[in-house]
Amino acid sequence: MPDESNITDEVILPPECVVEEKWIDRIVVVSAAGTVDMLTSPKLEERINAAVAQKPAALVVDLTDVEFLASAGMSVLIAAHQQTPEDVAFAVVADGPVTGRPLKLVGVADIVDVYPTLDEALAKLAA
């Protein structure tokens, strides 16, 4: 019988967030993987700002591989939406219980365009 009292004795590593940037023509995709919380969201924000500074035609923030999204990360998305120049389209890729669902619950999905997959976001932006 498993001893449940030992569950929290497992090593808990600090949350990590890996952010990558890729270009598809003039569309920049900033993708995050891992945890986007109050500790790691400044890193995502910096990378988004750096991408916007390179004057893309459109910006996509891809949260497909995010395992935890806190309100601090949602604020980064709202700030990105507000700071992106009007002629630069902005989209977020998020789906499922840890990203898509909470973004809808608190109305972030009413402010920014959220797509369930990167392909759908790119198709919309290329149209």
Binding site: E4, I7, T8, E10, I12, P14, P15, T35, D37, M38, L39, F68, L69, A70, S71, A72, M74, S75, I78, A79, Q82, G96, P97, V98, R101, P102, L105, V106, V108, I111
Partner: protein, 142 residues
């Protein structure tokens, strides 16, 4: 439903300990076998209560103080009771004229929990959240 109470504590309410306490809670919560949606909801709600402590409670202090997370299930009401306690004073996030950027922590907790009560006093703040219907449907059918 497992009858259990667990307590997680950090002497320093900062972003690192928020991550650690959140992960400890998530692991404790696994025993309930909740749906992925429900599990994620509870972890996010608890994170936001912890994050508010780390962000607001000790703003007037030179160093952040302690934060304690207590989780208890109540088999009689089939609910999970979570409290997050600190010894600081929450400062209401200022309205900086940018309502879209205002914190979503408390609205998230209210959307995700069945009840949220925030008690602030001069000696600290306690957030109480109740989550109903947490029994594992598969074990209930057995």
């Amino acid at each position: 439903m497992p009858a259990a109470e667990s307590r997680y504590h950090s002497e320093v309410a900062d972003a690192v300990s928020v991550g650690r306490l959140r992960e400890e809670f998530s692991r404790w919560l696994r025993r309930f076998g909740l749906s992925a949606d429900r599990h994620a909801d509870l972890v996010l709600a608890v994170n936001e209560a912890l994050a508010n402590t780390a962000e607001f409670a000790y703003r007037r202090h030179s160093h952040p103080g302690a934060v304690t997370l207590t989780v208890r299930c109540d088999p009689a009401t089939d609910s999970l009771l979570v409290t997050v306690t600190d010894e600081g004073v929450w400062r209401e996030p200022r309205d900086d004229g940018n309502p879209q950027l205002r914190g979503r922590g408390i609205p998230l907790m209210e959307a995700l929990a069945d009840e949220v009560v925030i008690d602030s006093s001069a000696t600290g703040t306690t957030v109480r959240m109740r989550f109903d219907q947490v029994s594992n449907p598969s074990s209930a059918m057995a």
